[in-house]
C-alpha cells in the first residue's frame, strides 16, 4: 500500500484522485449492469448537463474553502443570476450577450459582497453566506415579481445553448475542463492561489509575513461569484426554466464534490482535479438514483451523507498526521 503511494506516477496524479476515478468508473459499470439501457450516450449527456453547472459551483467554492471559509449561498445565488439575467432577456428586451454578462455580474456582486464582509468586517463566512442565500432568493423574487423565467430554446434565438452542446458534441464539457485548468493554474501557480491556500492554512503567519490577507481572501469569494454566474448560464442552458426561492440543495452537492475531491474543510489544502472528479461522481449519482427509480429526495439524503463521510475522512486524515 505504502509502496503504491510512493510510486512517482501515483504521487503525481494523487492517490486520492486515482481512487476517486476508480469509484466513478465502478459506479458507471454497476449502474449499467443494474439498469436497462443505462449505458449509452443519452444518460451520459444527461449526467453531463448536471455536471456542468454543478462543476462551476464546485470550482468556485473550492477557492473559498481553500481559504478556510465556506459559502452556503452559491445555489440560490446561481438561481438569482439566472432569474435576473433571464428576466432582463425575456421581459426587458435586453439582448442575449449582455444578458449572459448580467448573470456573471450578479454572481460577481454577490461574491464581492460576501468576500468583503468576511475579509474586511470579519463576519463569519457561515453567517455571511446564510444571509446572502436568503438575500439572493429575495432579490430574485422581487426582480421577477415572483414569476418563474424560461430562457428561449435554440430555435427562438437561444444561441447560448450552443455553449452546452452542438448536435451531439458536448461543448460544455470542453468549456468546463478549460475553466478547471485555468482554476488549477490560478490555485497552484499564481501569487493569488499561493496566498489563498497559505492563509487557509495559517492566516496569522501569512499576515505577519506582510501579506495583505484581506485582499486575497476577498478575491477567493469574487472568483467564486464569477463561477456561480457561469454556472447559472449552464443551468438554464440545460434546464431552461428557473423558479425563485430555490437552489439550496446545490450548495450541499457542490461542497460534497469539492470535499470528496480532497479539499480540506479546514482550509489550506485544495485540489481542482479532485473537485472535477468529485462533481462527476455526484452528477452520475443523481442520474443513477433517478434511473434506479428513486425520487430526487433520496439524492438529498445521499449527498448529505457523502458530505459527512468526506469531511469525517478529512478530519481523520489530519488527526493521523498530528
Amino acid at each position: 500500500m505504502k509502496k503504491i503511494k510512493e510510486n512517482p506516477i501515483v504521487k503525481k496524479l494523487g492517490f486520492n484522485r486515482i481512487v476517486l476515478t476508480g469509484v466513478l468508473i465502478l459506479m458507471y459499470v454497476l449502474l449499467s449492469l443494474m439498469v436497462n439501457n443505462f449505458a449509452g450516450l443519452p444518460r451520459i449527456m444527461s449526467a453531463l448537463n448536471y455536471a456542468y453547472f454543478l462543476g462551476f459551483l464546485s470550482l468556485g467554492v473550492t477557492f473559498v474553502i481553500a481559504t478556510g471559509g465556506i459559502d452556503f449561498s452559491i445555489g440560490p445565488v446561481m438561481f438569482c443570476c439566472a432569474l435576473v439575467a433571464g428576466y432582463s432577456l425575456t421581459s426587458k428586451g435586453i439582448p442575449m450577450l449582455p444578458s449572459l454578462l448580467i448573470s456573471i455580474v450578479v454572481g460577481l456582486i454577490f461574491g464581492t459582497w460576501n468576500g468583503y464582509l468576511v475579509a474586511y468586517w470579519k463576519v463569519p463566512p457561515f453567517i455571511v453566506s446564510m444571509a446572502s442565500m436568503n438575500m439572493a432568493k429575495g432579490i430574485a423574487s422581487v426582480f421577477t415579481k415572483t414569476q418563474s423565467v424560461s430562457w428561449p430554446q435554440a430555435a427562438q434565438g437561444g444561441w447560448f445553448r450552443n455553449l452546452v452542446k452542438v448536435g451531439k458534441f458536448p461543448v460544455g464539457l470542453v468549456v468546463f475542463l478549460c475553466v478547471a485548468v485555468i482554476c488549477s493554474i490560478i490555485l497552484n501557480h499564481t501569487k493569488a492561489g499561493r496566498y489563498m491556500l497559505s492563509l487557509g492554512s495559517n492566516r496569522e503567519a501569512v499576515r505577519l509575513s506582510g501579506v495583505d490577507i484581506k485582499k486575497w481572501e476577498m478575491l477567493a469569494y469574487i472568483l467564486c461569484g464569477i463561477l456561480v454566474g457561469i454556472a447559472a448560464i449552464y443551468y438554464v442552458g440545460a434546464y431552461t426554466t428557473v423558479q425563485p426561492g430555490y437552489g439550496d440543495q446545490y450548495n450541499n452537492e457542490a461542497i460534497a464534490g469539492c470535499v470528496m475531491g480532497g479539499t480540506s474543510m479546514a482550509g489550506g489544502l485544495a485540489s481542482i482535479g479532485g473537485t472535477v472528479i468529485g462533481v462527476f461522481i455526484i452528477a452520475l449519482l443523481q442520474e443513477g438514483i433517478l434511473a434506479l427509480g428513486f425520487t430526487k429526495d433520496y439524492q438529498l439524503i445521499i449527498t448529505g451523507l457523502i458530505v459527512i463521510v468526506a469531511v469525517y475522512a478529512d478530519v481523520m486524515a489530519r488527526r493521523r498526521k498530528n
Binding site: 497559505s198 503567519a205 499576515r207 498526521k321
Partner: protein, 498 residues
C-alpha cells in the same frame, strides 16, 4: 518527608528529530515539595506530560502508590489523584468560582444542577486552604492570583495525592506568591506530594525540599535544597555545554548609525511609554519576566497589533506602521515566539515558506517562478544549514530548530535589515540553539540589526550588545553589556513602579 508515592524510572521518549527524554528518573515523596528544574527545552514539561498520559512513553515505568501504572490522559490521572495546575489557567470566565471547580462533575438535585451544594463544597475547600474567595463570584472578575487558587482548590477537590505546579508564579505578583507559598506549605503539612516546576532560583530555595535537575532531556541529579547553593543548581542546569563565546563587550562600533528609533510607544496596558534606539549591527536584548510587555512592544512596532501613540523612525526617517505590511516595507521582520502559530505555514513546503514575504519578486508574468523559488530556498537551506530532505519538504516535518531557520530564511529572503527575534530558541534543543546563536552573531556582523526578546538570562548575557529591561509594560532600565549582571537585570525586571 514520608514514603515515596510516585516514581518514574528510565523514562524514554523520542519525537521526530528530538530525543526529548533520555532515560529520566524522578521520584516524589509524601509531604515534600520537590522542584523540577532545567532550562527551556530540558524536558520538564514533557516528563509531566508523560506522567499524566498526554504523551505515551517509548519505554520506562511509572510506579504510583506501589503499583505499576500508565495513565491515558489528564482525566484518568486526575481520578487517580495526580493533578497538574497549569501555567495557563483553564477556567471558564463567565461561570462562577464553584461552577468552575466542579465543572464536569456537578452536583445534581434531580435533573437540576445543585448550585447551593456546589457553593458549600467550594467554601469547604477554600476553608481547608485558608483562603478567602467567594464561591459565587464570577471567575473573570478575579485576579490571576485568585484564579490560580481556584485551580488549586479544584485540584484538591479531586482527592489529589500528587499536585504538579507548572511554573505557578510566572504570572503572579509578589504578595500573591507569598499566599501561594503559604498554601503549598499547608498542603505539605497534609502529607501531599508536590512537584514544583520553576525557573526562579530564589523560589526554589524558599519553598522546596529537594531539587531534581534535568538538562537536554537527561536526568542530571537530585539534591537536597538546604544542602546546596544556587550555583550548584545552575551548574547542573547549564552543564558543560559549550555555547558560542559569551559577550564581554559590545561588538557595535561606537559610531554605528541608529537604524530604528522608537519614541513614547503606547499600546494598551502592556506597552506604556516605551522608547529605545537600535543601532546598525547591534543585538539589543530585551529582558524581563513573563508578561513584562516585551512581545506586545515588538508586535506594536511591527504593526501586528494596533498602537495608541508613539513615533517610529527607521534610518532617521519617521515612518507610519499600521500593519505588518508597512513594517515589512520598511525592512522590519518579526520572528514570533510561537513559530507554529505565527511563523510558518506548516502545510507548505520549505521553499514556499521561504518566499512567503517576498513572493512578488518571484512572479514571472502571472505565474510563480517555481524554479527560481526553489533555487533561492536551496541557497538559504545551505547557508543556514537547515536540515531538511529537500526544499519541497513540508515544514511540518521539520524539527523546531529547523523550522526556526525557515522563518529566518523568510526574512533574509525579504532582505529585512531589522529583525525582531522573540524567544528565538524556545523549544529548541541545545545543539540547534547554539547554531541559532552563531547565526544571529553572523547576521549582526553583516550589519543586520537585531532585537532579541529572551526570558533566559544566560541567553541575554551571552548574546546582547546592550540590554533593555521591561517590567509591567514599562521600560525599567537599559544597560551596556559590560555592566550587565544577572542581579542588576533581575532588579530592574522586578522593580516596583511607584
Amino acid at each position: 518527608m514520608g514514603e515515596v508515592i510516585l516514581e518514574m524510572k528510565e523514562i524514554d521518549k523520542t519525537f521526530p528529530g528530538v530525543h526529548a527524554l533520555d532515560h529520566v528518573n524522578f521520584e516524589v515523596r509524601k509531604g515534600e515539595v520537590h522542584a523540577l528544574m532545567g532550562e527551556n527545552g530540558a524536558g520538564k514539561s514533557t516528563l509531566m506530560k508523560v506522567l499524566t498520559g498526554i504523551y505515551t512513553k517509548d519505554s520506562g515505568s511509572i510506579i504510583y502508590e506501589g503499583k505499576d501504572i500508565e495513565f491515558h490522559g489528564a482525566r484518568e490521572a486526575q481520578d487517580a489523584g495526580v493533578v497538574i495546575v497549569h501555567q495557563e489557567l483553564n477556567m471558564v470566565g463567565h461561570l462562577t468560582v464553584a461552577q468552575n471547580i466542579f465543572i464536569g462533575r456537578e452536583f445534581k438535585k434531580g435533573i437540576k444542577i445543585d448550585d447551593k451544594k456546589m457553593n458549600e463544597e467550594a467554601k469547604k475547600l477554600f476553608d481547608r486552604l485558608n483562603i478567602d474567595i467567594d464561591p459565587t463570584a464570577t471567575m473573570s472578575d478575579l485576579t490571576v492570583g485568585k484564579q490560580q487558587m481556584c485551580e488549586i482548590a479544584k485540584a484538591i477537590s479531586h482527592e489529589a495525592k500528587v499536585i504538579i505546579f507548572d511554573e505557578p508564579s510566572a504570572a503572579l505578583t509578589e504578595s500573591e506568591i507569598e499566599d501561594l507559598f503559604k498554601i503549598i506549605r499547608d498542603l505539605r503539612e497534609q502529607q501531599m506530594a508536590i512537584v514544583y516546576i520553576s525557573h526562579r532560583m530564589d523560589e526554589i530555595k524558599v519553598i522546596t525540599d529537594r531539587v531534581t535537575v534535568m538538562r537536554d532531556g537527561c536526568y542530571v541529579g537530585t539534591l537536597i535544597t538546604d544542602e546546596c547553593t544556587k550555583d550548584d543548581i545552575i551548574n547542573m542546569m547549564v552543564g558543560r555545554v559549550i555555547y558560542e563565546e559569551p559577550k564581554t563587550k559590545s561588538m557595535v562600533a561606537p559610531d554605528a548609525p541608529v537604524v530604528l528609533k522608537v519614541e513614547h510607544l503606547n499600546a494598551g496596558k502592556m506597552v506604556q511609554d516605551v522608547s529605545f534606539e537600535l543601532r546598525k549591527g547591534e543585538i539589543l536584548g530585551f529582558s524581563g519576566l513573563m508578561g513584562a510587555g516585551r512581545t506586545e512592544t515588538a508586535r506594536a512596532i511591527f504593526g501586528a497589533d494596533p498602537k495608541e501613540s508613539g513615533d517610529i523612525y527607521v534610518n532617521g526617517e519617521k515612518v507610519v506602521i499600521n500593519s505588518p505590511q508597512d513594517a515589512v516595507k520598511h525592512g522590519i521582520g518579526y520572528l514570533s515566539e510561537d513559530r507554529k502559530r505565527f511563523g510558518i505555514v506548516v502545510q507548505k513546503s520549505v521553499a514556499e515558506n521561504t518566499t512567503m514575504a517576498d513572493l512578488p519578486n518571484y512572479i514571472k508574468g502571472i505565474f510563480i517562478n517555481k524554479k527560481k523559488e526553489r533555487e533561492v530556498a536551496q541557497k538559504f537551506v545551505d547557508s543556514l544549514n537547515t536540515k531538511t530532505p529537500g526544499v519541497d519538504q513540508l515544514v511540518v516535518n521539520l524539527s523546531g530548530g529547523n523550522q526556526q531557520k525557515v522563518v529566518i530564511a523568510k526574512w533574509l529572503c525579504k532582505n529585512c535589515d531589522i529583525l525582531i527575534f522573540d524567544e528565538p530558541t524556545r523549544g529548541i534543543d541545545v545543539g540547534a540553539k547554539n547554531e541559532i546563536y552563531k547565526l544571529m552573531n553572523k547576521l549582526a556582523a553583516e550589519g543586520k540589526s537585531i532585537i532579541m526578546i529572551s526570558s533566559e538570562m544566560t541567553e541575554i548575557l551571552r548574546m546582547s550588545d546592550r540590554v533593555v529591561v521591561m517590567c509591567e509594560g514599562r521600560k525599567t532600565g537599559e544597560i551596556a553589556i559590560e555592566e550587565a549582571t544577572q542581579e542588576n537585570i533581575m532588579n530592574m525586571a522586578t522593580r516596583e513602579i511607584g
